[in-house]
Symmetry: C3
Amino acid sequence: MSVATSGQGFIDITREAARFLERIGARDGALFLFIRHTSASLVVQENADPDVRTDLVTALDRLAPSDAGWVHDTEGPDDMPAHIKSMLNGVSLHIPVTDGKIALGTWQGIYVAEHRARPHHREVVLQFLGHVEA
Amino acid sequence: MSVATSGQGFIDITREAARFLERIGARDGALFLFIRHTSASLVVQENADPDVRTDLVTALDRLAPSDAGWVHDTEGPDDMPAHIKSMLNGVSLHIPVTDGKIALGTWQGIYVAEHRARPHHREVVLQFLGHVEA
Amino acid sequence: MSVATSGQGFIDITREAARFLERIGARDGALFLFIRHTSASLVVQENADPDVRTDLVTALDRLAPSDAGWVHDTEGPDDMPAHIKSMLNGVSLHIPVTDGKIALGTWQGIYVAEHRARPHHREVVLQFLGHVEA
């Protein structure tokens, strides 16, 4: 699936993931997600207070500041920090699926974390391994 | 399974994971672990010197300090740092299983990392994908 | 498979992963990678400009400096930072496989990140879950 982002921030894809499982008739197993980029990442995080996502963006900016004298700077000051953030967060994760439902915790949502300043289209590969009902 | 934590720190769940594989008759495949929380995480780390875990806690505290002016602070000063640490470490991982045994390296153990100051009960979902022997 | 490293840095194992899939006749599914160490890690990152990997090493050094007063220091000043970097990056990941090919993004490569100063041999377990063609 393709996810449109609007600059740095977290985009909730929980509903899209649930729809995918429904469409393929998934029952019990696990959902595997992979993002095909090196300046965005996949994160399972709090879905209640949006302030949490604001602070997560701030935290990542502090861990990978743009003005830190990076060697790789030809693609703009936000590019190398984006690679670092993508490395720290990771590009693959899995979530258990029980009876066709994603077994997330009460406060968990699935997010694409965009680390570049400008909008992008991010490709996320969803796969299900387990029992499927026709 | 439910893991009781006693404030910030690492809880070894390697034995519980091994027992799970034994109970279901797992042979060859992989063990998938997922923690259903956003202020705790799953980590594979050194199981020999406990000082390593002490330093890992210190390192996480330095990467996500509690007095860093977070917007989200209604749940206490340890809450937002806990979300950041959970994002950095991640909530899902897999480990290969060979002939029913977890194929961890010699010095590796599986840990639930608790990032909140107070004790919690943390739910970890264990799944096995592969060959099972009745 | 065993990966020879020559001190801190990123070693590309994308080709070896592709050969593994070919050898076993993998068709559609996912490739699972696990590194059996606590001072090295697995990373999917940019495969174009080598400066990116240089900066990733620098970034990790800043996040886990060697002179930060770690308790665990018996194995040398690079050991505890290596554990921290391994925790942040992670030791397991998966990548989708389509029609026998690793479905990496255009700019993605698979890397073993060595965090120790001296050369090591790192064991990486490759597994494929999905459809195999004899």
